[in-house]
Amino acid sequence: MTRFASGSLPRYILQRVLLVLPMIWVILTLVFVVLRVAPGDPVSAALGDRLDDEALDQRREALGFNDPIVVQYWDYLVSVVRLDFGTTFSDNQDVLEVVRDNGGATLSLTLAAFVIALLVGIPLGLIAGRYRDTVPDVLIRLFGILSYAAPIFFVGYLLQAYVAGPLGLPTSGAAGVETVFYMERDGLNRTHILLIDVFLSGNSYYIEDVLKHLALPAVTLGLLICGVFIRLVRVNILQTMQSDYVEAAEARGIAPTKVTWRHAFRNALVPVITVIGLQFALLLGGAVLTETTFNWPGLGDKLVGYINERDYVAVQGIVTVFAVAVVVISVVVDIVNALIDPRVRY
């Protein structure tokens, strides 16, 4: 009846992209409320023990903390739009530069973990769902639950204690000291994302060094999401295997393997894609712990450092960046979803 209801793919994408603005606005407002309004006076919290009252007041004035809240709110929004997150209290660095220098490491870690989780989780989930209530299903589910249940730092701890040694893998940092030094010296840090820079440099020693450093943290973080993927894929397979169109395909005599692949697996992965966006958020959260455990020079590690310093400006800036990243990822996921599932567009 509603054949060409209201929309096409471009229209859907446009709508979805426009929806980003209010989403970001809401999230910025939340960040502002939580970090600027709630705590009261960040300056004295951070520097109260280092500066006298007059100096504190000067800092407050300079940062605009003496302005009315509404003005501060407007200033905050404007500064975010200009990608200006201010300067950290504790070490006087431009927050944007902190993000630039450390964001790359976080990005490479999460992406590597994500790839590992996908490569391991999705096939295992498919097998478990297809052969429900068999021995492989039980084992895979147990693996999934355990890999989710084991805290990142505990897995990291076990890996560091029992795996790193025998395999000769480093347990700390994103690269060896030489790699970092020579990359910097030779001006090879073009993108500020080490993983990309070493590949751009083409030097196999650097590449090996960086990949070795990446291995354990990425596996640790990947395992966390892997359990989630297994569960998700399995449940969706179970549901699509029961769906009417699968039975209808069987009734048409489509070969069982084709039914499984084309009807059950493919359809089961669609909702999975939607949830992947949310899993990325989980990854970013997990990255904080992974980075701390492995001394990975990423944003999460920095964030924890600044939190311990009570550096509100830095925390606010980093949190804002994370927030915007999450919103953007969710939009990308939605658009990908619309490309795959024709029903979404309408």
């Binding site: 054949r3 060409f4 979805r16 209010p22 201010g86």
Partner: protein, 557 residues
């Protein structure tokens, strides 16, 4: 017996119930409508005490909405419903709820109509509880009485049961018990038997007849099944797409159906009489989308007796051509398709349809071929002119007539085949007929969306300039692009928004009839958007990591 009396108990005047359609996620966020569905569109109906009025129609006919509107469950957009002289629209929420003691409802799916977490006693008793009967023992007495009345005996077996322990027929009895326990005078029965098994339907129908007899009820019987309506109803209103198309005494409707839709329904009922022949002249197609109903008479695209003035339009042309193609071979189809091109744009209803992509002459030849195949199609009479435009033709249809309900013999019919018969028995009733509504308004060129798009587009295009006036000035004075390390994100986003608005104006602006000058506005807004985008991103391009020092302290605190 005094009833059915002539005393009206419910009086529905010009009732319309419109729903806003949900749009996309953005529209949902803003709360704007993506269009309206006229579920009920200007209906007049009087219920007399003690009679059974049938509302019959297919899905989307608005029969259920009309039934729900009687209880105030569907808010009236226009018009009034008077129950015993009280207008439902005037009642406050509390008084309206109190009124529901007097008008009750029975639902189609008895399994869904009962709360799965309530026992039979709680479910039936809750009707009393919400109307303030606090004492549990008093309630129990009344519940037992009601359950006995609907035949659920021995009552003790049923009181503690949950709906899942009951059969379909038993559940429907519980629903009936809940409906009669407050002592209503009107019962709206929305397809009460259609979800039940064949052998139970007659039982429930019998029960409803008994209840009517015992309690003096007035029924509104909503159904798609003409057979049960024929048996059960005193009067029948045939509904189609939110309108009553024929209304009158049951015998007359069945003995002498007048509206083509009524005739079609009667022909289509499967009948267990083995001597009956399968009907050959069924209406084609399906109930159209209520969000944009056909022009003129809503039934004309499916009608076997349609006339040239029934409201022909572009979508009918598409159906005609596609129907033609189902009878062509693959090669013929491929050839003709290349002449006509894509037909999707015909889905936007208009009386001037442009088709053809391979030249006007070819398109005319094609149309002639279609016509030769089925020369009797009434749509041909509805075409005013076929003019050459560009590489195709523009088919201009006649303005259609939207027929109003008019008296025809003992019934009233809304069909151009039955023009007015002013001297009716109930002249007073026909006086209150709706005047024929004005033809579908050809849009004045401006609608809310167009204006909204323009405003939003202009703001999005200009705001970044205004908000950053200081920056742009600075930028000119310094004359050095690279002195700014900040990306003007607002500019980029504003540009995108403005471009989107402009594009939407360009393609969809100005309502149904696209005035060229809205296209101009669209172009301007879109261009502004592009400009804004370039402005925002030119700063982006100029960013160089080595020169990222901040030059300006006035806007970078």
């Amino acid at each position: 017996m005094a009833w059915p009396s002539t005393e009206p108990i419910v009086d529905i005047r010009d009732l319309s119930v419109h729903y806003g359609l949900r749009g996309g996620s953005l529209a949902r966020l803003i709360g704007s409508d993506a269009g309206t569905v006229k579920a009920v569109d200007g209906i007049n109906l009087t219920l007399r005490r003690g009679e059974v009025v049938g509302l019959v129609g297919e899905s989307g006919s608005g029969k259920s909405t009309l039934g729900r509107a009687l209880l105030g469950l569907a808010p009236a957009t226009e018009g009034s419903i008077e129950f015993e002289g009280q207008d439902l629209a005037d009642l406050s929420g509390r008084r309206l709820r109190a009124l529901r003691r007097d008008i009750q409802m029975v639902f189609q799916d008895p399994s869904a109509a009962l709360n799965p977490a309530m026992t039979v006693e709680e479910a039936v008793g809750d009707a009393l509880r919400v109307h303030g009967m606090r004492s549990a023992s008093e309630r129990r007495t009344k519940v037992i009485d009601a359950l006995e009345r609907v035949g659920l005996s021995p009552v003790e077996l049923f009181l503690e049961k949950y709906p899942r322990d009951l059969s379909g027929g038993q559940k429907q009895r519980v629903v009936l018990a809940r409906a009669i326990i407050t002592g209503p005078s009107v019962l709206v029965a929305d397809e009460p038997i259609s979800m039940l098994d064949m052998s139970v339907r007659a039982k429930i129908l019998q029960l409803m007849l008994d209840l009517k007899q015992d309690l003096g009820l007035t029924y509104v019987y909503i159904t798609h099944d003409l057979a049960s309506a024929k048996f059960f109803c005193d009067r029948i209103a045939i509904m189609y797409l939110g309108r009553v198309v024929e209304i009158g005494p049951t015998e007359e409707i069945f003995a002498n159906p007048r509206h083509p839709y009524t005739k079609a329904l009667l022909r289509a009922i499967p009948d267990p009489d083995p001597g009956r022949q399968l009907p050959r002249d069924l209406p084609r197609g399906e109930v159209p989308d209520a969000a944009s109903p056909p022009f003129g008479c809503a039934f004309h695209p499916r009608c076997n007796e349609a006339t040239p003035i029934c409201g022909w339009e572009s979508r009918d042309l598409r159906a005609l051509i596609e129907g033609h193609w189902t009878r062509r071979s693959a090669e013929e189809y491929a050839g003709e398709r290349s002449i006509v091109g894509d037909l999707d744009h015909l889905d936007k209803p208009t009386t001037g349809a442009t088709i053809g992509s391979a030249g006007s002459a070819e398109t005319r030849v094609f149309l002639d071929r279609v016509r030769a195949e089925k020369p009797d199609e009434p749509i041909w009479g509805g075409i005013d002119a076929i003019n050459d435009v560009g590489s195709g033709v523009r088919v201009q249809f006649r303005e259609g007539v939207d027929p109003a309900l008019r008296r025809a013999g003992e019934v009233q019919v809304a069909c151009v085949l039955y023009p007015d018969e002013p001297t009716g028995v109930e002249a007073a009733e026909s006086d209150r007929d709706r005047p024929p509504p004005p033809p579908e308004p050809v849009s004045a060129g401006i609608n809310r969306r167009t204006v909204g798009l323009t405003v939003v587009g202009l703001i999005a295009a200009l705001l970044p300039f205004v908000a950053f006036a200081g920056i742009t000035r600075e930028f000119v004075q310094n004359g050095v692009l690279t002195s700014y390390s900040r990306i003007n994100v607002l500019g980029i986003l504003g540009g995108v928004v403005a471009f989107g608005c402009g594009w939407a104006l360009l393609t969809k602006g100005g309502g149904a009839e696209r005035a060229p000058w809205w296209k101009a506005v669209g172009v301007v807004v879109a261009l502004l958007g592009v400009l804004q985008f370039l402005h925002g991103s030119s700063l982006l391009v100029a960013v160089s990591p080595c020169q990222s020092e901040r030059v300006d302290s006035t806007w970078c605190r």
